[in-house]
């Protein structure tokens, strides 16, 4: 395995990037590993979550791990946050890293699909077949949500278009 080369500039930049994106607790981490001990993602086999992800960032290795899919295996269960003795809120770091990845479009196609669904209907998960199902259980075909509400969709679209997500050209 190649040695990690420590460069202060890279470390500073990595930490700042993650903190700016919401992983504000990262510098408090003492690498005790309690987060990873309870993380379902780590257990399932996504190595770069919680402690190891934080360690990589603290080593300045943002670019090196940009294609890493582990972060997208995070269940957002926040169990790490509950056990962290330093109030790092590791999940926020994972999500900050995701945002870093997303900003570079290092995302999967399924992720892209959800964004487009959200933009078009206001729902990340939607299928036409739902109409049948709803009818079957005695509900109106269209629920009283944004899916059948043009004004609501416009609002959601306005929010998304102006956001950094809009700038990525996902919609």
């Amino acid at each position: 395995m190649p040695a990690i080369i420590i460069e202060q500039e890279k470390i500073n930049e990595a930490v700042k990037t993650i903190m700016d994106l919401g992983g504000t607790g990262i510098l408090k981490c003492v690498q005790c590993g309690a987060c990873s001990a309870v993380c379902p993602g780590v257990k399932a086999g996504f190595p770069l979550l919680c402690r190891l992800l934080i360690k990589n960032i603290l080593d300045g290795r943002l670019e090196e791990i940009i294609e890493e899919s582990s972060s997208w295996g995070c269940q957002a269960c926040n169990r790490c946050t509950e056990v962290c003795p330093q109030n790092v809120r590791p999940q926020e770091v994972v999500f900050a890293f995701r945002r870093y990845q997303a900003g570079e479009l290092a995302i999967s196609t399924s992720t892209t699909t959800s964004q487009m669904n959200l933009y078009e209907t206001g729902h990340a998960v939607y299928s036409e077949s739902s109409k049948e199902l709803r009818k079957k259980v005695g509900l109106p075909e269209v629920p009283p949500t944004s899916v059948g509400d043009a004004k609501a969709q416009k609002e959601i679209q306005t929010i998304l278009e102006q956001s950094p997500m809009g700038e990525l050209g996902l919609f």
């Binding site: 690498q31 993380c39 003795p85």
Partner: protein, 669 residues
């Protein structure tokens, strides 16, 4: 007009590396009243001090300002220099341009220099208005009080007593001994804790200069160094200790039960009980909270008369006592009695407590097979509830696998940020003892990192590895309860970077050391202060580790911060030596930074009287009118009366109004 000498210190590069010392000196020279302004590499050095003395002897200066570090450490040094030069030592003022300037403003040298000028000007302003003051001396009561009868308190008391000072040792439990008495063995020597502690306890109990006041608590402390008046509440024992022989017959017959705190709640004791078998003094008490008043014998009631025999019916404890020490007919005061002690110095050694497992939700605190390390200590002790056999509480079986978890509540923002310092070592001790006794037992230890700084400690730790104890770096994140009482540990292997999951029979939590119950209340009674992590604050972390900000009050043991037995004993002996100083001198100096009433300005309104926290102020006739007067020996110079006096008749020497106005003027110039 005052002739102020200003001396600016470089403090090597500590100050000069940031602040333009010459600019500050030159600026000081321009200020009114300044006679000379000089600078030196180290003002506190002999040559620096000599510079001041020479200027005084030459008649150049009659007020001195040193711009250097903090007066909290260096004021006494320079005051001594003034005295040596022949000037009243209170004609001195310090400008703090290191701790509160160069060290914190290194990023802004220009701003730091400007600030230094202002701070120096402020000191000059104050110095110009300083007045000479004289130290005062009062006699000392040659007796000491030690609060807390754990190993620290015992040693502090023995040292003081051996130096020939009458010493009172106050302990709130019925026996001295503290937490050390609960321990099985001690690291890194594996000495039996009771074997080394018991003789010392007996020494303390028999020493002619020591008076044990067990089952007692400090109610109130008044006075000052050399002359404290302490009220000690001796709690009600409900057993006449003059008669009690400690035979334990009452406890044997008592039917009432309550969790035994000495066994960390792992077993029960009776309401009538002796604290533990090696107790000193070996006396029984009745815990009224647990007593069920057998035969309707509430305290102070007459016994019922048996219809059958016509004889009075006594409670079992009364009947059992061969010494006749229990008489429930007596209307004993549940509040006990108050003893007033006069002492010259006080050592506080109130110890600590460990956190209970209930605080730690991720470790299944409701599961019987999760216990604290102190509970394990009782579980493996020959005097413990199982006679020293390791049995899993929930199953009463010998465990196959056990797990130690470190840093439970320590180094954790949710609880305590401090390291409890002893957990790594006592867990290793426990693991080693168990591995020796049960070689087949699989022992897994989980540390954030192992802290084994101490003589022989690291060898003790590496030896544990060699014994086949599994040691993992990484914190345990949680535990799942399996049917049948076993536990599934969710841990992490920091080196491998992977989670660890396995089943265990017994889980030991090394819970944090925290301040003892009642420590806060005691602090308020004594004027002690706390550090950020709720231990008593010492005067200085390095130079005053046993002293406190209250003169005459000294600290020993874990009340000042977590420590092991050798460190506690060392500190106790140090505290005893410090506490003996005023007692040996016979007199103590009182600094004249005290408040004084100008009787001719006082209007006798009496606003100040209830204000004084030390009851130092009273109204006495002066030219036939009631006027306030302050008792110099009671006053501690807080100035709370000065700032409240509606007639501006009270002056706080050393902090007079015109001095402070001069500082304000300088800082806003």
């Amino acid at each position: 007009m005052a002739k102020v000498g200003v001396y600016v210190c470089h403090c090597g590069s500590n100050i000069a590396g940031v602040i333009d010392v010459e600019a500050v000196r030159a600026f000081a020279e321009t200020l009114p009243g300044v006679a000379v302004a000089r600078k030196d590499l180290f003002m506190c050095s002999d040559s620096g001090q000599e510079m001041i003395k020479q200027d005084i002897r030459d008649g150049l200066v009659d007020r001195v300002v040193v711009a250097a570090c903090t007066p909290r450490t260096h004021e006494p040094i320079f005051r001594a220099a003034l005295a040596a030069g022949g000037l009243n030592k209170y004609l001195f003022e310090m400008a703090n341009i290191r701790d509160q300037d160069s060290w914190v403003h290194a990023h802004d040298p220009v701003g730091a220099t400007e600030k230094a000028k202002k701070v120096v000007a402020s000191a000059i302003g104050k110095a110009s208005h300083l007045k000479p003051l004289e130290d005062k001396f009062v006699d000392v009561t040659d007796a000491a009080l030690v609060v807390g009868g754990g190993v620290g308190g015992i040693f502090a008391a023995l040292e003081l007593a051996n130096m020939g000072h009458k010493t009172y040792l106050v302990e709130r439990e019925p026996s001295i001994g503290g937490v050390m008495a609960q321990l099985d063995k001690t690291f890194p020597t594996n000495d039996c804790s009771a074997c080394i502690l018991t003789p010392v306890m007996v020494d303390a109990g028999n020493h002619p200069n020591i008076e044990l006041l067990t089952y007692s608590e400090v109610d109130d402390v008044e006075g000052y160094i050399g002359n404290f008046t302490v009220k000690v509440r001796q709690k009600q024992t409900y057993i006449d200790w003059k008669k009690c022989t400690g035979c334990g017959a009452c406890a044997e017959k008592c039917p009432a039960k309550t969790p035994d705190a000495f066994n960390s709640g792992l077993s029960n004791r009776h309401a009538a009980y002796i604290h533990f078998p090696q107790a000193v003094p070996k006396k029984a008490v009745i815990d009224m909270g647990a007593c069920i008043n057998c035969a309707g014998r509430t305290i102070g009631s007459e016994p019922r008369i048996s219809k059958k025999t016509g004889e009075p019916i006594y409670a079992p404890c009364e009947k059992a006592c061969p010494a006749g020490a229990i008489d429930r007919s007596l209307a004993l005061d549940p509040n006990g009695t108050i003893r007033e002690l006069k002492v010259g110095s006080i050592v506080v050694a109130t110890g600590f407590k460990v956190m209970e497992k209930e605080n730690f939700k991720e470790f299944a605190p409701d599961c019987e097979n999760v216990i604290t390390a102190l509970q394990l200590e009782r579980l493996i002790s020959a005097t413990g509830p199982t006679g020293g056999k390791l049995l899993v509480p929930g199953t009463v079986n010998k465990p196959h696998t056990m797990t130690f978890v470190s840093c439970v509540g320590s180094r954790d923002e949710r609880f305590h940020t401090h390291c409890s310092r002893v957990c790594c070592m006592y867990m290793i001790k426990q693991a080693r003892l168990l591995k020796e006794k049960y070689p087949d037992l699989s022992i897994n230890m989980h540390f954030m990192d192992v802290r084994a700084a101490g003589k022989g400690y690291d060898e003790y730790y590496t030896g544990a590895r060699a014994m086949g104890i599994n040691i993992f770096r990484g914190k345990v994140g949680g535990v799942e309860k399996l049917p049948g009482g076993a536990l599934r540990v969710m841990a992490y292997d920091m080196e491998a970077g992977t989670p660890i999951e396995y089943e265990t029979d017994l889980m030991i939590l090394a819970t944090a050391i925290e301040m003892a119950d009642g420590a806060k209340e005691l602090a308020q009674k004594m004027g002690l202060q706390f550090c950020g992590n709720n231990f008593y604050r010492e005067l200085h972390p390095k130079l005053g580790p046993v002293e406190t900000s209250v003169r005459g009050l000294y600290l020993a043991g874990c009340c000042q911060g977590p420590k092991d037995i050798p460190d506690t004993v060392s500190q106790a002996k140090g505290a005893a030596a410090a506490a003996a100083v005023p007692l040996s001198q016979g007199k103590v100096k009182i600094e004249p930074i005290l408040s004084e009433v100008h009787p001719e300005k006082c209007s006798g309104c009496g606003i100040c009287v209830p204000l004084c926290p030390y009851d130092a102020i009273s109204l006495k006739p002066y030219a036939d009118r009631p006027r306030a007067v302050i008792d110099m020996t009671q006053c501690k110079g807080c100035g709370v009366c000065t700032s409240a006096c509606p007639s501006a008749a009270i002056v706080l020497h050393g902090y007079e109004e015109e001095q402070i106005y001069a500082q304000i003027a300088a800082l806003t110039a």
